[in-house]
Symmetry: C2
Subunit: 177 residues, 2 copies
């Protein structure tokens, strides 16, 4: 697509995302604006216990003022490989160390205006440990559901987080369901 960037403004540099406003010119000579939430990506983990159940985090989401069921996840530290981030976030949010970890996919959460890319992993052979929550995560609790229960929760709109549903889609495919 032929699109010329004629102005680039960094409106805000945040800890989670930067706000960018670009002015662009189309082939016709007409101009437009592109607003971008610049995010540096993260990792997501689908932790499968030896009995087949999945560990979810149930946490308060400030933007929504709601509690959601989600897979453990978090932002990449600068230069951090996605798998390392996945292991770190799993440990911090659930206490588990992953014996085996395997990449499922990487997704864009909302590509129309945001650069966020999430690397999704499945973790098995979990070893119990101690959660290491940050103060802002103290409302977080762990919940365990079987894959069948989780799929039902998606259908009943009780699991509504996009990355979590994508992880479950892959789990089902792996199971050959």
């Amino acid at each position: 697509m032929s699109l010329k960037v004629i102005d680039h403004k960094v409106i805000y540099r945040g800890r989670v995302f930067n706000t960018i406003v670009d002015e662009v010119e189309y082939e016709s000579g007409n101009k437009g604006v592109r607003e971008v939430a610049e995010h540096f990506g993260g990792a997501v983990v689908l932790p499968v216990l030896n009995d087949g159940r999945i560990a979810f985090v149930y946490q308060y989401r400030y933007p929504l003022k709601e509690y959601l069921y989600e897979l453990p996840a978090g932002k990449l530290e600068p230069g951090e490989p996605p798998e390392e981030c996945a292991r770190r976030e799993l440990k911090e949010e659930t206490g588990y160390d992953a014996g085996r970890i395997e990449k499922l996919t990487a997704i864009y959460t909302t590509p129309g205006f945001c650069t966020e890319k999430l690397h999704i992993f499945i973790a098995r052979d979990l070893k119990d440990g101690k959660q290491q929550l940050e103060e802002g995560e103290l409302g977080l609790s762990l919940k365990y559901f079987s894959p069948a229960e989780a799929f039902d929760m998606v259908r009943r709109n009780e699991i509504v987080d996009a990355k979590t549903i994508v992880g479950l889609f892959f789990l089902e495919k792996l199971q050959g369901a």
Copy 2:
């Protein structure tokens, strides 16, 4: 969760999202910052042709500088009911009028920092018509895949858009696969 908002700043009011930075106080008295991309939501359509194939849009995504396969989607106009938005975006991006349209779910695309909620619909009995693209969408083209092809594209990481994968998950469940 006990969290007091002690400062609320609107850093930028955009056409797609607003940038909000709040200062919050935890129960302990410690303070933190919450950055929020305030988005007013949208609708997504999974258009199923009479022969069972799905209509995708293949479009350039400015934030990523990449082309992606996605389900047709767009932002809610102020006060617009999600179903109306779904029908409008389907018409604009693909030309199709939906004979029947049915809600599948509503998801949060990235609830850690963004309020965006997407209402996902399935559309059938499609009637051909004329696309009505905006100038910024002129790179958009239509692509048709069977559900089986689309599921394979998800597995091969050729479909990487979260809302699109969520829509396909529901389609598979509806088919009882």
